[in-house]
């Protein structure tokens, strides 16, 4: 039985990969761009999930993406650094910032942590806004170019899509491995039974900080990926508005499994684009659908599949409690 389930998963993965490879060739130009930003946002929500594994929800993740993006932008603008260097360094800068912020932030938990993370994020974002040198102030920085290798110009959407897809898949694989490693299990344990975990010698502060640093590292890479394609960076790209979108993607998608946030970002991005024709009514329609979705699917879109299995009598509803 296990072999069949595994085989089914591998086949599904192969079909998904094949679909992702051929997809851009069937899309119009501006949908190719949308696909690139969607792929980057998949990494954003996947990395955010690592932070939420310990039960802490932060409001600084968008700013951490900005730390990575600004690092890449400044390295490119000042040192003409190639993207292959800026990507890991962007992740490193975001991770380092997270490590430093861990000391004050993880003295708080729950709601206080949420507010503290928002305040810390705004302090960073306002610094970018306040200093025209070196950050460009509110107007930000522009002219950050993607690489050109031989005849492949990564300014074109299809080559850049494959580049982004490759980087994001590697990152997702690492994040998946982390979640299913001993570290991941410990993070889950802290979420569901923190006092019990502490009683058996788990340093919960250290693990919470580690989750925050890992999440920030990967979202920093996502920031660099995005900015090398956009070519322009401004502080507003990483404001509370974008952070709210991250939260919506994760909440609507569900956060019990790694698939939930990914489903959330994909479905909501496609939905947002599909209602573009409604013009000024679009935000209202989007908001209405969110409310309906939260009311009728409180455990997120990821809970639909187990529900269907339960209705068909071939599975049990496993989305109500903690993961095994």
């Amino acid at each position: 039985m296990k072999i069949i389930i595994r085989l089914r998963k591998i086949i599904a993965l192969i079909i998904l990969l094949a679909g992702l490879i051929v997809l851009p060739h069937y899309l119009e130009f501006h949908y190719q761009d949308l696909l690139i930003f969607l792929i980057v946002n998949v990494l954003v929500v996947a990395s955010y999930r690592i932070v939420t594994l310990t039960g802490e929800w932060s409001l600084i993740h968008a700013v951490m993406m900005g730390v990575g993006a600004y690092t890449a932008a400044l390295l490119f603008k000042n040192y003409n650094a190639a993207m292959w260097f800026t990507l890991p360094l962007a992740g490193g800068a975001a991770a380092l910032t997270a490590a430093l912020l861990s000391f004050p932030l993880f003295r708080m938990t729950q709601f206080y942590f949420l507010i503290g993370s928002f305040a810390a994020g705004e302090a960073i974002r306002l610094t970018w806004m306040q200093f025209i040198f070196p950050f460009g102030g509110s107007g930000g920085l522009s002219g950050i170019e993607p690489p050109i290798i031989g005849s492949i110009d990564f300014m074109d959407p299809i080559p850049y899509y494959y580049l982004a897809l490759g980087v994001v898949l590697i990152c997702l694989f690492i994040l998946y491995r982390i979640e299913n490693s001993k570290i991941g299990m410990t993070l889950h344990a802290i979420h569901w039974k923190a006092p019990l975990a502490e009683s058996v010698g788990v340093d919960t502060w250290r693990y919470r900080a580690l989750a925050f640093i890992i999440g920030s590292f990967f979202v920093g890479i996502a920031g660099a990926l995005k900015i090398h394609y956009l070519g322009t960076i401004t502080p507003n790209q990483f404001g509370i508005g974008f952070m709210v979108f991250i939260l919506i993607w994760v909440i609507v998608g569900g956060y019990k499994t790694i698939y939930g946030p990914l489903i959330g970002v994909v479905v909501l991005t496609i939905f947002d684009e599909s209602v573009r024709g409604f013009g000024e009514l679009r935000p209202a329609i989007y908001g209405g659908v969110l409310i309906i979705s939260i009311l009728f699917l409180p455990l997120g879109l990821e809970s639909i599949y187990p529900k269907i299995l339960t209705w068909c009598g071939i599975g049990s509803n496993s989305s109500d409690g903690p993961p095994p």
């Binding site: 130009f29 761009d33 806004m129 040198f133 102030g137 170019e145 000024e280």
Partner: protein, 422 residues
Amino acid sequence: MKITRRDFLKKTATGVVLAGVATGLPVNVFANEKTVKIGMNIPMTGDYAPWGLPGLYGCEIIADDINAAGGVKIGNTNYKIEMVSFDHAYDTEKTIQGYKKLVLEDDVKMVMMLGGSTVSSILPWAQRKKMLTTTLLPSDITPKSEYVIATCESHPLYNVTGVEWLAENFPEAKTAVIVTNNDVEWGLQSASTYKAAFEVAGIKVVDVNLHGFDVTDFAPIVSSVLAKKPDIFCMATSFYTTPLMEQLYHQGYKGKIISCTLDYYNEIIAKTSKEFVNGTIFQFPDFDDPALLQEGIHFPDPNGFDAKFRKNHPNDWSAVAWEYPAILLNWIEGAKAAGSVEPTEVLKALKSNKKPNFVFGGGRWWGSELWGLDNAIVGRWPVVVIEDGKARIKEFRSLTDWLDKNNDILKKNMKALGLRTV
């Protein structure tokens, strides 16, 4: 009834001829008629929507009028105009998507944009596709942005005309304070321009408060600057004119007020009083103003346009309502001169005209002294004052004359606030 072979052939032949006439006539009549698409990549939702959506409404009015009159003749072809819009909500990601959709999929011949970081994000594509792109913020122009032009609004340079008028008409006003948001695209550009204008006019700036977008309570800001007892309160290009005006009203300010914009001034009057708002100086007229009927104004039937706009969209009039249409009119002028709708041809024709039609007249290409490229049209600009609760043009003043005399002072003040100049 028996149909003979002769009858059948006769009737069939008649039918074929009639069908040929019916289908052939329009083909012959409209053989040289085409549709040209003009793109608008603007914010239509979100915080910046008031500086995007009214512009689309305005352009649709102009395009409908032109189309109803039979279109516009460019070269040997008669063109109907179709506006194609994309809502980028002032988001750089969506801006790039929108730009590519308009240019590569919709085949528009010009893209109108608001300006700022959204224009920076599409610059590489404008260059690569040689696409004529317009902005309302000429500070977007760089030495390398040859396809980006600003043919209507030369924000914030025209603010100097308001200060000049104020200094001449109220010589007793000798001190000023400036309060505005600290963003690079609007606030700082405007604050530095006002500082330069005050310096030229011999008015001393006693305080400058550049606040962030996070401010929700303007009482302490207004209190602190009013403590300097200024004769003039300058809001530069503030996103917060309404709360600032409310605070000035509640704190009993009696001096002169000057601002770049005063969008939705009726709301300000409703929140304060007509008497308080009367006398406020700004730069954006309503288009029902009789002063716009005088010679030298390059905008067809401005009063009729205003009436039509307010009838169709009663609560949406803002400064951009006539600015994007004015840019559209510039494009038509360029396309007619070029005899072509192709972006590079239109740009070439527009740039080769040393005295281009400018909405308020007296236009000329300018910009290399400040941004490295003569890609902005500057000319006369109106000084507008609220009188009896209504915006009224007091005078048109020459921006070009001021720039010719005082460009160095302007540059000095821009550099002092860390802004880019050549």
